[in-house]
């Protein structure tokens, strides 16, 4: 069988190249939807873990406290803009 040709990946002009790191995506998401009081999380990782657990519990995801793929996929999923927590 013909050897599968490697797909050519092209850089498309105008496409935002700088994608957020997973941690940045998580921090922004958790803040926007009411899981953390402030946009910045302390470096110790404790507050991120607590916020992740709240997010996972609130949306019936596996409660790992980790930024695992299930949690990241949930954060990338299209959704409603109303916060999950708070007013």
């Amino acid at each position: 069988a013909p050897r599968r040709r490697q797909p050519t990946v092209v850089v498309f002009p105008g496409e935002p190249q700088t994608s957020l790191t997973n941690r940045q995506l998580a921090e922004e998401y958790l803040y926007r939807y009411g899981y953390t009081p402030g946009a910045e999380l302390s470096e110790d990782g404790q507050s991120l873990q607590r916020a992740l657990l709240r997010f996972q519990r609130r949306l019936s995801l596996p409660e790992t406290g980790e930024l695992d793929s299930t949690t990241l996929n949930a954060m990338r999923a299209p959704r409603c803009g109303v916060p999950d927590v708070g007013g």
Binding site: L59, S60, C80, G87
Partner: protein, 601 residues
């Protein structure tokens, strides 16, 4: 489920809503219908009712917006955040906003209605195959008249079902030319244009002249948007795909995933991507406006997000064709408003001396003819481009088709009709873009359903009322604050009710009773006006309360029509028949639409 702090809720049950603007992604009547169905989900399980109004006094104001759209909670472009809504209350509270950088559909790809052709107005099916090639957008391939068409099934080569796509070559919208198609080339400010343009406007809307010289005639209309081929994102958002286009030296006649590792479909917006590097994302399945609206209206009624992943009020979008409400949603909304009161059985009280039928007559409703039409499509694309097209797409709407689009549809299953009207001595029953009609003469067999769009292509899916003027045989169709007037196959409209002299207090026309000398009584709510067919104006002094002239009929009727010299006032599935003797109107019969008029078993 969760409610908002303090169980925020409405303290009245007749909720009003205003659709403040529209997305270009879907036909307006599809958007109206999606919102109405989304509200109907909640009214089915609560005492709440939802009435459409046309001004900011509404409880729930619905709008489409992009990025920062005026409430301090900006949208974020394509995907991600789809929409948001505010809990019940005054002002912006209770409103629902939808991100118009999303592609709004019914969840299964762009909705492109078709015109003429042989598919009775059915929507395009993307992708479709034509001459072995796959198409994800309307095309002019196979035709030499440059008319855009699509197949309405997955395989044109097998099924040969097609229609023409929304195009400025077929019609224009709004403007001042009554929907006439563009004329190319046309002159504007001394320049010649051979395509739609947004020149001369600051809102970016594409328009064209409907005569060769705009500078002289000042006649114009807006060009229908090409949702099937308009790109989002990329560096050419809002522009159209150009097929075929060259990419890495290869030619593409449809959107492609080549060159990307995220699987998104894209296309070039010039014929050569390698040279111009202009591109954007092609339309995908889109997000179901009906499902997202049902979720947002849950917020607007007082529900917050739930933790139940299968429930409608779960924050993430999930397409489903199942009934969207989960038990959790119903428990939440009934916690706020209680259940829907059971309608007490109300057999119609009769004031007539005529004997009530003990059981509805057993004349059965004939099913639609099962024989398929023998002839092939009369117009539209045939063989390869060399063969050229047959029949111009300007062929007007054909006579009512002889085959129903869906034999399973049964007029006896319709609960409440949108409109009923006597047209050409036959009673027509309209519902959600379809209609049935009583055959001529005895037996009153029911024919149909037929697609409204096949007989009257310009009409929306939802109608409020219809009547035929007995003198001129003009047929007036009312939907919301718009009216269409058909004279044979030609149509005037849509025009606003203001043109007839009906002000904004008239949200819709719910019925009409023709009167002698070219007069017609037009009804709305609990009043009616006298309308002159010749001047096409109402006499503003003639406004009269219904119960003053028609004593004994219900005050909240959803349809009023004339049939065989008598007036029929419909409420739910019942009608009150009124006969006039010496200018005195009297209810002489109360019956069931389905049993007494349609003779359903």
């Amino acid at each position: 489920f969760q409610t908002f702090e303090g169980d925020l809720k409405w303290h009245h049950h007749n909720i009003t809503y205003w659709i403040q603007n529209y997305s270009e992604d879907l036909p307006r009547d599809v958007i109206d219908d999606a919102f109405a169905r989304a509200f109907a989900l909640w009214s089915a399980v609560t005492p709440l009712t939802f009435t459409r109004v046309y001004g900011p006094e509404a409880d729930i104001v619905i709008q489409f917006g992009v990025r920062e759209h005026g409430d301090g909670y900006p949208f974020d472009g394509k995907n991600g955040l789809l929409a948001h809504a505010f809990p019940p209350g005054a002002g912006i509270q209770g409103d629902a906003h939808f991100d118009d950088e999303e592609l709004w559909s019914l969840g299964k790809g762009v909705v492109i209605p078709t015109y003429f052709g042989n598919a009775k107005g059915a929507a395009c099916h993307f992708p479709f195959t034509f001459q072995g090639r796959s198409y994800s957008a309307c095309t002019t391939d196979g035709r030499s008249d440059d008319m855009l068409w699509c197949s309405t099934t997955a395989d044109y080569d097998t099924d040969r079902q097609f229609g023409f796509c929304p195009s400025e070559r077929l019609y224009t919208q709004d403007g001042n030319a009554d929907g006439k198609p563009c004329v190319f080339p046309f002159t504007f400010q001394g320049r010649t244009y051979s395509a739609c343009t947004s020149d001369g406007r600051s809102d970016g809307y594409r328009w064209c002249a409907t005569t060769a010289n705009y500078d002289q005639d000042k006649l114009y209309g807006f060009c229908p948007s090409r949702v099937d081929a308009t790109v989002t994102g990329g560096n050419a958002a809002g522009e159209l795909c150009v097929f075929p286009f060259t990419f890495l030296g290869k030619e593409y006649s449809a959107c492609t995933r080549e060159g990307r590792n995220d699987g998104h479909l894209w296309c070039a917006t010039t014929s050569n991507f390698d040279k111009d590097k202009k591109w954007g994302f092609c339309p995908d399945q889109g997000y179901s406006l009906y499902l997202v609206a049902a979720h947002e209206f849950g917020h607007a009624l007082g529900l917050d997000h739930t933790s139940v992943p299968e429930a409608l009020m779960y924050p993430m979008y999930r397409f489903t064709e199942e009934h969207p409400l989960h038990r959790d949603d119903v428990q939440g909304i009934q916690h706020l408003y209680g259940p829907r009161p059971e309608p007490e059985p109300r057999p119609p009280t009769t004031t007539t001396t005529e004997p009530q039928p003990t059981a509805p007559p057993t004349v059965c409703v004939t099913g639609p003819p099962t024989a398929r039409p023998s002839e092939g499509p009369t117009t539209g694309p045939t063989g390869p481009p060399a063969a050229g097209p047959t029949g111009p797409p300007t062929a007007g709407p054909s006579a009512a088709p002889t085959e129903s689009p869906d034999p399973a549809e049964d007029v006896c299953n319709v609960d409440i009709f949108d409109a009923i009207a006597q047209i050409g001595n036959r009673l027509h029953f309209f519902k959600a873009g379809k209609y049935w009609r009583l055959s001529e003469g005895g037996g009153r067999r029911v024919q149909g359903p037929f697609l409204v769009k096949s007989t009257w292509p310009a009409l929306p899916r939802k109608l409020d009322s219809v009547f035929e003027d007995p003198l001129t045989k003009k047929i007036f169709f009312f939907s919301g604050r718009q009216v269409w007037v058909y004279t044979g196959a030609s149509v005037l409209g849509p025009r606003r009710l203001d043109k007839l002299g009906l002000g904004p207090e008239v949200a819709q026309v719910t019925g009409a009773l023709p009167r002698p000398e070219g007069k017609v009584l037009l009804f709305s709510g609990q009043s009616f006006w006298r309308f002159d067919v010749k001047t096409q104006k109402v006499d503003p002094q003639s406004v009269t309360p219904v119960d003053q002239t028609f004593p004994g009929v219900p005050i909240s009727t959803h349809d009023i029509f004339q049939y065989q010299e008598k007036a029929y006032f419909c409420q739910d599935n019942f009608y009150w028949r009124v006969s006039s003797r010496n200018e005195v109107n009297q209810v002489d019969y109360v019956g069931y639409v389905t049993f007494d008029l349609l003779k359903c078993p």
